[in-house]
């Protein structure tokens, strides 16, 4: 085998594998009904409190991909998807991926607490009683979720409930984590002088 042939076969194989991986992610996005942005913009920052009254902002999660979910205790569809989201969280947490759920209930924080306890949710649950964050994210139906990458950029929009513990969902989230892994590797390489 000549060197040129070897390079051609190597490049073809490389692109096939790469394309397959990329199309796999695309298929997962499609399966999950995730709308990708036309122009990547930063996720609107917010300052909210969690259910214990501790201040939490989006900046606190910088460096980690985040699945940002809007819900309410009165939303039946939310009730159906939150347990699956908890299962996804348990699967993804070791990989450094966060799930943040923002409740838009207006008044009764105790009801949210009761709900969180009942469903055994361990990911951060924040409260947006004034609806400011909800409006900033243009929420017109519940549940609605956004995919935010580790740099705080919006990478996806999801309207309605989803099977968040499905293989497609895990694929989507791992692709976000994969991007993060690649970027972290680049940073590490840059620091060690391999890339100038």
């Amino acid at each position: 085998m000549t060197g040129k042939k070897f390079i051609a076969i190597f490049l073809t194989g490389f692109f096939l594998v790469f394309a397959n991986a990329a199309s796999g992610h695309d298929a997962d996005f499609e399966t999950m009904g995730i709308v990708k942005p036309r122009t990547v913009k930063s996720a609107p920052d917010f300052d909210l409190q969690d259910l214990e009254g501790n201040p939490v902002s989006l900046d606190d999660f910088k460096g980690k991909p985040v699945l940002l979910n809007f819900w309410a205790t009165w939303c039946q569809a939310c009730k159906e998807e939150l347990p699956a989201m908890q299962r996804l969280y348990e699967y993804l947490k070791p990989q450094g991926i966060e799930i943040v759920a923002i409740s838009i209930d207006r008044n009764d924080k105790d009801r949210i607490k009761k709900y969180v306890k009942e469903y055994g949710l361990t990911f951060p649950v924040l409260w947006d009683p004034d609806q400011k964050v909800r409006r900033g994210y243009y929420i017109m139906g519940l549940p609605t979720s956004y995919l935010v990458d580790s740099e705080g950029k919006l990478q996806g929009f999801v309207s309605g409930a989803r099977a968040w513990d499905s293989p497609a969902s895990k694929g989507v989230m791992e692709s976000l984590a994969g991007d993060m892994g690649q970027r972290m590797q680049k940073v590490a390489e840059a620091k060690s002088g391999h890339i100038k």
């Binding site: 990708k36 009165w74 939303c75 039946q76 939310c78 209930d105 207006r106 994210y137 549940p143 929009f157």
Partner: protein, 387 residues
């Protein structure tokens, strides 16, 4: 017992619809849309508005019992007005009335702001009549039960949201109601089982008719508010009767106001209470068959007195205030079952006429999304955020 069985049959029919039509559950793909702050009791006009590009169908079965007689704010003993018609008394006097009303309606929301509703009804009226001594003697019976049944008037009503303080989950909104009541109900129902010879084939009194006989404008305003876990609001509605029907009379002007409060006590249960006010004017005149042909008058002469207080157009209308208590259940997604009971608090009636005694209602509501509904297509990803 017969009454109870009848109501139970209707109730079971309504429930069976809910149980055996799970298609709506299949259509449910899981998205709470707008109108979240707009829950209302289903008996109030404009209640039960579907989401945008969705249909809803509503079946409401009610039973209302009326009696005894009242004049102004005082009860009237029927024996005090039974007697010989020329002496200002009546040959036949109503004792009790039972109305079985099945209302069926459909609605579609064209936009977030505008929904159109159509509602029809089928009514069965039974009114127990007591005879004076002369009629008891001539007929050999103390009275009889007057009947009428059939389809009533059809309402076409639009609801347009004039104001809301939030586009998704408003806590305050004001809507305009406007529409027409179309005269699909008969105004020429006749006696068929009257034991008094010669009365069968004559026109039944006003309330035994099934419609107004006129195209009537309806206009109203609705305020809806919410503060989790409460919903509350006020609905004020006017129904005009502006011109005479084919029998040469029109119903009195109607105004009703409904104040309601609802509290969610469980994710699938909402309790509700209402104060319902209704004003209604007297009828404008006697129907042609009475006024000209003398039906409903002593000896068939329009110059003589009425055979019954039911024949006098001035013995209708007045002011009523009642309280309604009920609960809404959500047995399946997109379906609501509502049970209600109404009791009168205050009645100042143009009488003598039968006063309201109580009413019970059961309604079943189903919402059916079309493929244009947000439930299917989801909400649009916001372009402001790059989508």
């Amino acid at each position: 017992m017969k009454l109870f069985k009848r109501f139970l049959t209707f109730l079971l029919m309504i429930l069976s619809f809910g149980v055996f039509l799970p298609a709506s559950a299949l259509a449910y793909i899981g998205l709470c849309c707008a109108h979240c702050g707009g829950n209302m009791p289903l008996n109030i006009p404009g209640g039960g508005i579907p989401e945008t590009h969705e249909f809803r169908f509503k079946v409401n079965q009610s039973f209302m019992q009326m009696g005894p007689l009242r004049d102004g704010t005082d009860d009237v003993d029927r024996t005090s007005i039974l007697g010989a018609p020329p002496a200002g008394r009546f040959a036949a006097v109503p004792d009790e009335m039972r109305m079985y009303m099945t209302m069926f309606g459909g609605a579609y929301s064209f936009t977030d702001r505008f929904a159109l509703m159509v509602m029809g009804m089928y009514t069965v009226n039974d009114m127990d009549m007591a005879f004076n001594n002369a009629l008891v003697g001539s007929t050999g019976t103390n009275g009889f039960t007057m009947n009428s049944s059939g389809f009533g008037d059809t309402q076409v009503l639009g609801k347009y949201r004039l104001y809301s303080n939030d586009s998704f989950a408003p806590t305050r909104q004001i809507s305009l109601l406007a529409g027409l009541s179309l005269p699909s109900g008969s105004i020429t129902k006749e006696f068929s089982n009257n034991p008094v010879g010669g009365q069968n084939g004559t026109i039944l009194p006003y309330r035994m008719q099934l419609g107004s006989g006129t195209v009537d404008p309806i206009i109203g305003l609705t305020y809806q508010g919410s503060k989790d876990p409460w919903w509350y609001g006020l609905n004020a509605i006017y129904e005009g009767h502006w011109y005479d029907n084919d029998q040469g009379y029109h119903q009195g002007q109607e105004f009703r106001a409904d104040l309601y409060a609802m509290r969610q006590v469980h994710s699938k249960i909402v309790l509700e209470s209402q104060l319902n006010f209704k004003y209604e004017g007297t009828y404008s005149d006697q129907p042609y068959n009475q006024r000209v042909l003398g039906q409903g008058h002593f000896r068939g002469n329009p110059a003589n007195g009425f055979l019954s207080p039911l024949n006098d157009p001035n013995n209708y209308g007045g002011e009523k205030l009642s309280a309604t208590f009920g609960a809404q259940f959500q047995p399946f997604p997109l379906q609501v079952l509502e049970l209600q009971a109404t009791l009168p608090i205050y009645q100042n009636l143009n009488g003598p006429q039968l006063q309201d005694d109580f009413a019970i209602m059961a309604a079943w509501y189903i919402e059916i999304p079309t493929k244009r509904s947000k439930r299917f297509v989801g909400t649009k990803a916001p372009k402001e955020l790059g989508f």
